[in-house]
């Protein structure tokens, strides 16, 4: 369970998170929608401990992420994140990209790490590309590789930060299909996305962020069918 | 700080040496740049196959130590009875040396101009010369200038080697004073400071231009 309590975060004079409260249960899929600058991507990097927070708490399965003495490296094995820019390691093949962290962070043997990597890469449909370098693949393929790379650590939670925003329209579908598959398998996921149809299809709950505040949260049918907040209505009208 | 016997006259002697360094550099860079542009344009224009001999010759100037080139240049002028003094010989060798590096910079600058841009110019009815002068030259200059500044400073530092031919430039002047006054560290520090003052501000300018004009910013 991820518990977010009254989290505030500023970059200089700009307050990007103004007291966020959100609890995500095991097995739940929560998508976060909202305009740019609404703070949704920042929240994900804070959950993973890549960015510090100014006040409030983020607790994952009883561990306070930002408390002193928290072993963030250990925590991050449990919480995978995939970024908008997939950040493939260009000097490693697809297989080596996925094997690296299981070997060096989890300390698995080469054979075991390879077995896991092959399994995850096959899972996201890259079983044929094991020996290829990332530069030779499309953005969609690299993004799926990044997903496999995170999954190879057997995380219990997955965070997706606008994973399709940097892709050509033609390549968005293959990545969304991968996310759908994960959701159906019961992975606990928080997805920041601009793909409304995807949010509607896979989410258990949809949260709408506006200017650093979570303006509204609810079941997809409610958010998309009968939004309560004026800003939600405005936003949905603009993306339709 | 230093108890020295260095006199004002000696400082004037160092200044003369610095002037010689600058003179050799100025002549060589000017002549080397003209030649370099010529060689660079020829290389681009006639293609890698026909320019292979030129490419090879320029590569030799970049791959053989300058000191050896200076000795060879001097031996050559004496064999050919050209009657060049050390200054002329030094300038000729350094100019060719500069030209070899400059041609490479020019070639890089020209090939950085997109083919489509040049095609657009030609499609407007511009001649080859007009395209070169109004489109390629301004764009290529921008790309090449930081490297060219680096080359100029490199030639200024490398010009110290002309002391081997007996020319009294800055480093040789310092050496003369060292031998006479027996204060090597102090005098060499002054010499180094002069080189540094000549080079550092211009090097910074080059770095600044490179940053400002880099295509990614």
């Amino acid at each position: 369970m991820i518990e977010i309590e009254n989290v505030r975060k500023s970059f200089g004079p700009l307050e990007v998170l103004k007291g966020i409260d959100l609890t995500v249960e095991k097995g739940e899929v929560v998508t976060i929608i909202g305009g740019s600058g609404s703070g949704k991507s920042t929240l994900l990097t804070c959950i993973n401990g890549l960015e510090p927070i100014d006040s409030g708490r983020i607790v994952i399965d009883g561990t306070d992420v930002h408390a002193k003495g928290t072993d963030l490296n250990r925590l991050r094995r449990k919480v995978g994140i995939v970024f908008q820019q997939w950040n493939a390691f260009p000097h490693l093949t697809v297989l080596e990209n996925v094997m690296l962290a299981p070997r060096k962070v989890l300390g698995l043997t080469k054979d075991k790490a390879e077995q896991i990597a092959v399994k995850q890469l096959t899972h996201v449909g890259l079983g044929e590309k094991l020996k290829v370098y990332p530069a030779r693949m499309s953005g969609g393929q690299q993004q799926r590789m990044a997903i496999a790379r995170a999954l190879a650590m057997s995380p219990e939670y997955m965070l997706f930060d606008e994973v399709t925003s940097a892709l050509d329209p033609m390549l968005v579908g293959e990545v969304l299909d991968t996310l759908k598959m994960l959701a159906e398998e019961g992975m606990t996921m928080i997805c920041v996305t601009h793909e409304m149809a995807f949010a509607r299809d896979v989410s258990d709950r949809v949260a709408f962020f506006h200017q650093g505040v979570m303006a509204e949260i609810g079941a997809p049918d409610q958010i998309f069918g009968a939004p309560q907040h004026a800003e939600t209505q405005k936003f949905l009208a603009s993306v339709r | 700080m230093f108890d020295t016997t260095l006199t004002l006259n000696d400082l004037a002697f160092l200044a003369q040496g610095a002037a010689m360094t600058l003179a050799v550099t100025a002549v060589s860079v000017a002549a080397g740049t003209v030649l370099g542009i010529l060689f660079g344009v020829i290389r681009v224009q006639i293609g890698p196959y026909w320019s292979a001999p030129l490419t090879f010759a320029l590569d030799v100037f970049r791959s053989v130590p300058l000191l050896i080139q200076l000795v060879l240049g001097n031996a050559f002028q004496s064999i050919a009875k050209l009657g060049w003094g050390p200054f002329a010989t030094s300038c000729v060798v350094l100019s060719l040396y500069t030209a070899a590096f400059c041609a490479e910079i020019v070639r890089g600058g020209i090939s950085s101009v997109p083919v489509t841009t040049r095609r657009a110019a030609r499609s407007l009815g511009m001649t080859w010369w007009q395209d070169m002068r109004h489109i390629v030259a301004p764009l290529a200059t921008r790309v090449s200038l930081p490297s060219w500044i680096g080359l100029t400073l490199g030639v200024m530092k490398d010009s110290a080697l002309v002391l081997w031919l007996g020319l009294i430039e800055l480093l040789r002047a310092s050496q003369v004073l060292v031998t006479r006054l027996q204060e090597p560290l102090f005098i060499l520090l002054i010499c180094g400071a002069i080189y540094f003052i000549l080079s550092f501000p211009i090097a910074r300018l080059g770095g600044y231009l490179e940053k400002r004009w880099s295509p990614n910013d």
């Binding site: 993973n48 890549l50 490296n73 250990r74 991050r76 094995r77 995978g80 994140i81 970024f83 820019q85 950040n87 390691f89 260009p90 000097h91 490693l92 093949t93 690296l100 962290a101 060096k104 962070v105 370098y133 990332p134 530069a135 990044a146 995170a150 650590m153 | 030799v60 791959s63 053989v64 130590p65 300058l66 000191l67 050896i68 080139q69 000795v71 060879l72 001097n74 031996a75 050559f76 064999i79 050919a80 009875k81 530092k157 490398d158 110290a160 080697l161 002391l163 480093l171 050496q175 060292v178 090597p184 560290l185 102090f186 060499l188 010499c191 180094g192 080189y195 540094f196 080079s199 550092f200």
Partner: protein
């Protein structure tokens, strides 16, 4: 104009001697490169340390190495250090001077290479649970080496060319030194130095080609 008879035989007879000198040249270049690399890594760490004193020391080294002639640096090692009671042999002075120069240029090269690797790479590594040291060693460093490799191999060629400066401080064992000694005995300046030029050219090209082959093997991506 040319009533001069070239005596190439005399130069060719001295070829074995000159090749011995070429070995010394290569040795000085390699050793100075090894010392230079070690110092450059140290200087880079100093610059990254955030300590102002160490950072200024490293910057001063780099700027002096890059803004004064290599020959000046060798003179400093040979004549200047005498003030501190350190009287280096021509061999040692040449080695110290070139190593100092190499370190300055290599440190600047490393700095550029570090800048060329985006922070997002470190972030991606950290997000997988790597420590910052692991992210640097496994993700940033291998990419940095690729960026730095070709400039570093160019520096190796420069080191070879710089060894010829030893002759000005009385070095007589390297290629330039041997050639100068032969020249002083026979006055066949052009022939001997032309042969030396050919040998320098061959060494420089061999090093360049070897570096390219190595890069091709090491960096397959």
């Amino acid at each position: 104009m040319f009533n001069y008879t070239f005596h190439w035989n005399q130069a060719l007879k001295a070829l074995p001697q000159m090749l011995d000198g070429a070995l010394v040249t290569l040795e000085i270049a390699l050793v100075s490169m090894a010392i230079g690399l070690a110092c450059a890594i140290g200087l880079t760490l100093f610059r990254l340390s955030g300590n102002r004193l160490l950072g200024s020391f490293a910057s001063a080294w780099v700027e002096i190495a890059r803004n004064t002639p290599a020959l000046f640096q060798i003179y400093m090692a040979h004549f200047g250090l005498g003030n501190f009671g350190l009287h280096l042999s021509p061999y040692a002075a040449l080695l110290v001077g070139i190593a100092f120069n190499n370190a300055g240029y290599l440190a600047e090269n490393f700095r550029g290479a570090l800048k060329a690797i985006p922070d997002t790479q470190t972030r991606a590594g950290r997000s997988l649970g790597m420590t910052s040291l692991q992210a640097f060693r496994l993700v940033v460093l291998p990419q940095m080496l690729r960026v730095a490799f070709l400039p570093a191999s160019n520096q190796m060629v420069w080191a070879i060319l710089m060894t010829s400066l030893g002759v000005t401080v009385g070095m007589n064992a390297d290629l330039a030194g041997v050639t100068q000694e032969l020249n002083a005995r026979s006055f066949r300046t052009f022939e001997f130095f032309a042969l030396a030029a050919v040998i320098y050219y061959v060494i420089a090209k061999a090093v360049t080609l070897a570096a390219r082959a190595l890069a091709w093997r090491m960096f397959r991506y």
